[in-house]
Symmetry: C3
Subunit: 356 residues, 3 copies
């Protein structure tokens, strides 16, 4: 499929992007697509001359590309950052659908809630007492805002989102469908007699400006104090953020990552899918945590860690390569033992015996 765009002249599009147009400025862009899927009225993009063969094979009518890519006689928007400028072009050409400002008759807004006149509150939404929704914010259908919640300006909350009491959400925050904010943290005290008792979770959640959160992700309220997701952080789907976590600015957290209580994620850190952290760890700024890594100790700033238990980059890759060769290694060891007259080891004895 090709995303349908509002038709626009290439020259005008280039001007709005602040880029130079090469070739026919009156070419009309009608859609955006990947190189392989684009048709003669579509705009596509190429990152660099390394994609020359795909560019040549593409049926795209126009391109965003850097110097050095041969687009034939097709019109071109010259860009030093083609991925970024193409993304900007898409945002211009395929505007996001959004409901009209105003409160749906089928929404339930508390009498003392405050909804800006330029916000859009869709059918099935519930907004609790004393909560505030800022200008330009859009609540798609069936969003629940509990009492005493603050939502800034120009947010987009998709259907099924829940924001529990006392949460504070900044501006330009995007919550995909089914995001669950402010659930109780998981705090229990075993009483030693076989039962466990709930620790009241009376803190809150703070989401700063420009944060985006993926579908089905859960962010729990703090036990005391706050769980905080800092400016510009991006969380993917089905991520678990436990009570009292603190996620740094522009951190990137991929799908199904789980952060135990009081985890601190530094600014610009990247956590790949299904990674997890034990509680009370600090994951350093600009660090990289590999997919499925299981963290049990702090990650230094800028470090790259992998595996469970975690190892640093080179160590992990070597250990994994060695692990794949381990059956062969044991055969080699057995050969040496035979050469030296050692008797055969008991198979499976490893667990019970003490290593030297």
């Amino acid at each position: 499929m090709v995303a349908a765009a509002k038709p626009i002249r290439l020259g005008e599009l280039a001007a709005r992007l602040g880029c130079r147009a090469v070739g026919d400025p009156d070419f009309v862009v009608c859609g955006v697509a990947a190189l392989s899927a684009a048709g003669p009225s579509d705009l596509a993009f190429a990152r660099s001359a390394r994609h020359q063969s795909e560019v040549s094979a593409s049926r795209a009518g126009a391109l965003v590309a850097p110097d050095g890519v041969d687009v034939g006689d097709r019109p071109l928007i010259l860009s030093q950052s083609p991925a970024v400028d193409f993304a900007r072009a898409v945002a211009l050409l395929v505007p996001e659908g959004r409901p009209e400002p105003g409160v749906s008759q089928a929404a339930d807004v508390a009498a003392d809630a405050s909804v800006d006149a330029r916000a859009a509150i869709s059918a099935g939404c519930v907004i609790g007492a004393r909560s505030r929704i800022g200008a330009g914010s859009v609540l798609h259908p069936r969003v629940t805002i509990y009492p005493d919640v603050e939502v800034g300006d120009d947010c987009v909350f998709h259907a099924g989102v829940v924001v529990r009491e006392g949460s504070r959400i900044g501006s330009r925050v995007r919550l995909q469908p089914g995001v669950l904010i402010g659930g109780d943290g998981f705090g229990y005290i075993p009483d030693g007699a076989g039962q466990v008792h709930k620790v009241p979770q009376v803190g809150c959640v703070v989401i700063e400006d420009d944060v985006e959160v993926g579908a089905g992700t859960t962010i729990d309220r703090a036990t005391l104090g706050e769980t905080r997701v800092r400016r510009g952080a991006k969380l993917d789907n089905l991520v678990q953020v436990a009570h009292n976590c603190d996620i740094g600015e522009y951190a990137i957290i991929a799908a199904q990552v789980g952060l135990s209580g009081s985890t601190v994620v530094g600014a610009g850190a990247i956590l790949m899918g299904q990674a997890g952290s034990a509680g009370h760890l600090r994951i350093g700024s600009r660090s990289f945590v590999g997919a499925k890594a299981g963290l049990h100790k702090d990650v230094p700033d800028g470090a790259r860690v992998f595996g469970t238990p975690q190892l640093e980059d080179r160590g992990w890759h070597r250990a994994m390569a060695a692990l794949a060769r381990l059956p062969d290694t044991m055969r080699r060891l057995r050969r040496l033992e035979r050469k030296l007259g050692e008797r055969a080891p008991r198979v499976g004895a490893g667990d019970e015996e003490s290593p030297s």
Copy 2:
């Protein structure tokens, strides 16, 4: 508990299944249950004579079983595929509860949406502009359909489902509670200055006929083009399907699997629980991916892979057996070293030193 059934004579039930009844055809089946839980008016089943002792111990009043199982003097429905025929019997005896056709007064349907007269739209549902719901489809309470969505015939969408704009859903698709379809894909471009910028996600999701999706699973829309789940694929709960994935016909994806962007899953592939794939991989047709496997490269058609990083079947099982014995292996190595007059290695030196 035993599922209550509409009472039916055994002879009639056998006829409807196309099977032969042995013994009293007038026995009345009043419920269905597992062998261990069944009572004297219940139907149970046995796969083969290997379950003879459970059959003999069971209080079930009647059985579905293949030739060679001794059911005593109880009535029997003879079947070469007892699991399949018992499943068919259950479907006949315990019909699914479904609301009456029609649109609830408490639903919110856009004026230009098209809902077939034989569809059932429950309380709290929201259906957006220009969307279409086919004949016989059931939307349980609080389903959100965004604008420009197509839903085929005889679908069942459970409470809390969200289908975002432009999605196309086939016929006989079953979505369990809280399935989230069409959320934005996770696409960001770092700008090198510590910030990240959103890539607009303007593609769509296509779900083909006979697909079933488990509770809380998320399927993201494509960046450009489409995310596709092909005919008959079955996804369990809390699965993550990222933008531009393509899941093959009759593939089986167990709970909490995570598929990164542009993963292709071949027809008939089976992915076990909590497995994950890096982006842009191809998981071959009829391949088998073990629980918790972490894929970082393609899986050939028909291959069986396990572990993180992935190894093929035999290699992985050997490596894991060897891993369990590794402490013992190191003791054996140390013994050889002593015999050969090698000095003791520095403990813990492995990470820092270069292997030969």
Copy 3:
């Protein structure tokens, strides 16, 4: 942030906790906070004298602490279980917000459903035919109760919860936002011809008293019979509980754990985050399953297991330590081989060759 409390005199608070107050009983507690965040009108707590330096540095106006902690001249509530008594104090001082009893005009309750007059049913809730809601139970906005569901007394169900038909929920059960109960289990029979057929899921879910379930967690109905979560069990966010599981009393299941079909979890077992079990396993009473462990066989009562495939405590820690040193170990092995005149092994040969 500090949680605001209903102001209370320290002496009165101590009396209500059944503890002894030391120092000024007229000190007014206005909030509760962690030691590091507390201000002069807040109550904080210290577990033991090991936290003396934090107590001395804290600005907290009053403390809950055991004998032997020096709180200076601040008023003190003496406690042998300071964490428990502080939790009880928080529950007293920061009462949970809850809607007034009664049924919202914006709720949709079936004519033959039974809702106790002391229950609170919020806007957007849907309650199906023949379902019953007990005294004191609170349904926050947009909860869906299907037909034939029983809910006991004093439950709290948060927004977006779904409970499918036939489920039976005890008393004092807390469901965080978006909990999904009673979805179909994942049961399919391959027909050998490339297709798979659904096994009807006609069992139910039973949740006993005092169970708490975290946001976004899914608990599937049984194929036949029941999926059961026993008294006092606590489940964190995004946990998957498959059909026919049986979770023991006061078990603790951390976030993103996945339990395959018919898993039995013993009383008091603790499963850490992202662990998973293959189907039909028994995880023993009071056992401990480490984070990310992948279980493929039963866990004995009281055992501690880790890793994938699982190893018992000591065996796993040794294997992991040995794994980190494996590249060095291989270097040592190569040195011995050279000394004994063995030729160099083929690199990467491990997968294909047979170990001795």
